[in-house]
Amino acid sequence: MTARSPLGRAPALLWVPALVAVVFLVVPLVALVVATPWASFIDDLRTPEVRAALWLSLRTSLATVVACALVGTPLAWVLARVEFRGRGLVRALVTVPLVLPPVVAGVALLAALGRSGLLGAPLRDATGLTLPYTTAAVVLAHTFVALPFYVISVEGALRSAGEAFDEAAAVLGATRWHTFRRVTLPLALPGVVAGGVLAWARSLGEFGATVTFAGNYPGTTQTMPSRIYAVYLDDPAAARTLAMILLLASVGVLLLLRNRWLTPGAAA
C-alpha cells in the first residue's frame, strides 16, 4: 500500500484504516462474484429483457449526468460564488432530497409531476402530456435523486479552487461567463468529474424512486436495478447474475473514464 515519496512513508495510523476500508468494500464484492451462477451469465446477457434494461440503464444514467451537469453546475457555481440572501436556505433545500428514502422521492415526484400532481395536472390540461411511466420520467427520477450529490460535490470543488484566478480573469477583461468557462470550470474539473461519477453511479443503482414514479415496464422504464429487483423477487440466484452484468458494465465504463479523465495527471 505504501511507496517512496520525498515526504516519507504513509504512517500506519493512516494506511491501516485505509486497508480496513478497502477490505470492507471489496470483500462483499468478492463474495458476490463467488456466489454468482456464472453458467447462466451469457444466456442472461442474451435475453432481450436484460439487454433492453441494460441499454435503458446506460442511456438514462448518461442523460442524468448530462442533466446534472447542465443545471447542477450553474447551481453549484451560484452557491459557491454569489452572495445572496437566503443562500443558506437554498443550500439546505438542495441537501434535503438526499435524505429522502428513494420510494418517498418517487412519491414526491408523483405528487409534483404525476397526472394529478401540483404541476402535472396543469401540464396535462394544457398539453395532454403526462410524465409518469415514460422514459423521461426515469431520467427525472434519477436526476432528482442524483442532483444533490452532484451539486454538493461540485460546490465544494469550486470553493476550494478559490477566487484569485477569477479576479485575474476579470482584470484581463473576461466576462463572468467567459471566466466560468475558461478558468473556473477547468480549474475545478477534478471535482466536477468526481461529481459526475457520483451522479452517474447513483443513477445507475437507483431503484426505489424510479419504480414508484416511472414504473417498471420493460423497454421504456425497466432499468437494470428494476429488472434485478423483479427477478430477485422470483429467483434470487438469477438476480445475482444480472447484478454482475450491471457491475461489469459499470466497471467497464469507469475504467474507460479513469483512463481519460480521472488519472492523477488530469487532476494536476
Binding site: 479576479e167 485575474a168 480573469a169 476579470a170 482584470v171 477583461g173 474539473l189
Partner: protein
C-alpha cells in the same frame, strides 16, 4: 486647470485613505513600508476591492456607476503568483486578448511575440508549475502588457527578476510610455526603480499619503524615515524644531570624543550594526535621543576606532552637507 488623466480618492476603512492624481504618460511610483496600503491602492484601482471614493480615468468616472474590472482596461501584475495553472504560458498571455474577442490565431501570435520580447519565448508551451519564479513573473508581465491597458498596475513587478531581465523590462516600460498615453502605477521597494522610472512619486504610510512630488524632489527632501532610508539619506528633525535635515551617510564623520570645529551638527550614540558596503563599511549609530543614523566609513577607520556593536561614538556632519527644509513644504 483641466482634469487630470487619473484622479483617485480612495477610501477603504482602516486600510487606505489616499488621493492620487496623474497626467497621461505619468509613471506613478508608489513606495512605502510593508503594510502601508500599496497593494490595497492597486486593487482599488483595478476594481477588485470595494471602496467608497471617487475615481476618474481619462475623463470617465469609474466610481459612479462602479465600473467592473473587466470594463476598466487595466493591466495588473500582482505580488505573488496568479498565472492560470491550467493554461500554458502562451495561453495565459493570450487570455486577455481572447476575452476581448481577438481571434485565436492573432491572439496566439501576439502572445508569442510578447513572450519573446520578455525573453521567455522558448517556454511558451510550459505550464506555470514548470517555470522558475522569475520566469513566471515575466509571463505575468507579458500577460498584463499584451492587452495595451489604459492603466498599468505593477505591484512589485521586478521582484525575483534577474538583473538582465529587470533592465530589459525597464526598457520595455519606457517603450510603452513613449507609445501610449495611459498611466502606470508602479509599486516598488527599490529606490532605483522609483527614481529612474517614476515621473511622480507617492509615499504611502499607514494608508495615507505621506508625501508626493517628482522623484527628484522626494529624494532630495524626504519627509519620512522610510523614504530617507529608501534613498539612502539620514533624516533628522532640526534641533530648533524648524524643519527637517537630510544628509548622505558618506557625509557623516565618526569620532570617539565630541568633535570640535566646523562640524556643527553632532550626536552622541552607540554603534548598532556594522555591514560591509562597497569598498567600505556601513555603520549604524543609534543616538542617545533614539535616532538611527547611518555612516559610511572606510575599513581603516573602523579598525582605528575599534568600532563594534555597542561602542560609544560621536557622529557629526558639516552644515554644508545638509539639506534643510520645512516639515510641510
Amino acid at each position: 486647470m483641466s482634469t487630470p488623466f487619473l484622479h483617485a480618492r480612495l477610501d477603504v476603512p482602516g486600510r487606505l485613505h489616499a488621493t492620487v492624481t496623474a497626467d497621461a504618460g505619468d509613471v506613478v511610483a508608489v513606495v512605502g513600508p510593508n503594510g502601508a496600503g500599496k497593494t490595497t491602492l492597486v486593487r482599488c484601482l483595478a476594481g477588485l476591492l470595494p471602496d467608497s471614493g471617487e475615481l476618474t480615468v481619462d475623463g470617465r468616472s469609474w466610481s459612479t456607476p462602479h465600473a467592473l474590472p473587466r470594463d476598466r482596461r487595466v493591466g495588473h501584475v500582482v505580488q505573488g503568483r496568479d498565472l492560470f495553472p491550467h493554461l500554458s504560458a502562451r495561453e495565459n498571455v493570450a487570455f486577455g486578448l481572447r476575452a476581448r474577442g481577438v481571434d485565436r490565431r492573432t491572439a496566439r501570435a501576439r502572445a508569442t511575440t510578447e513572450l519573446e520580447r520578455l525573453g521567455v519565448g522558448a517556454l511558451a508551451d510550459r505550464r506555470p508549475h514548470q517555470l522558475s519564479g522569475g520566469q513566471a513573473q515575466r509571463v505575468a508581465i507579458a500577460r498584463a502588457l499584451v492587452t495595451e491597458p489604459r492603466l498599468l498596475l505593477l505591484d512589485e513587478p521586478f521582484t525575483g527578476l534577474d538583473v538582465g531581465v529587470a533592465a530589459t523590462l525597464r526598457v520595455e516600460l519606457a517603450r510603452h510610455l513613449a507609445s501610449y498615453d495611459g498611466v502606470v502605477v508602479l509599486v516598488t521597494h527599490d529606490a532605483v526603480d522609483a527614481l529612474t522610472l517614476g515621473t511622480r512619486m507617492v509615499v504611502l504610510e499607514d494608508g495615507r499619503v505621506a508625501q508626493t512630488g517628482t522623484p527628484t524632489e522626494v529624494a532630495a527632501r524626504p519627509r519620512t524615515d522610510h523614504v530617507a532610508r529608501l534613498v539612502g539619506l539620514n533624516l533628522v528633525a532640526a534641533a530648533d524644531g524648524a524643519g527637517l535635515l537630510a544628509f548622505r551617510p558618506s557625509a557623516v564623520t565618526l569620532s570617539p570624543t565630541e568633535p570640535s570645529g566646523s562640524a556643527r551638527l553632532r550626536w552622541a550614540g552607540q554603534v548598532s550594526q556594522l555591514t560591509p558596503y562597497g569598498d567600505g563599511v556601513r555603520v549604524g549609530v543609534r543616538t542617545s535621543t533614539g535616532q538611527d543614523l547611518i555612516a559610511d566609513v572606510t575599513a581603516a577607520a573602523v579598525a582605528e576606532l575599534l568600532l563594534q556593536p555597542g561602542t560609544p561614538v560621536w557622529a557629526s556632519t558639516k552644515e554644508t552637507a545638509v539639506v534643510r527644509y520645512p516639515v510641510d513644504a
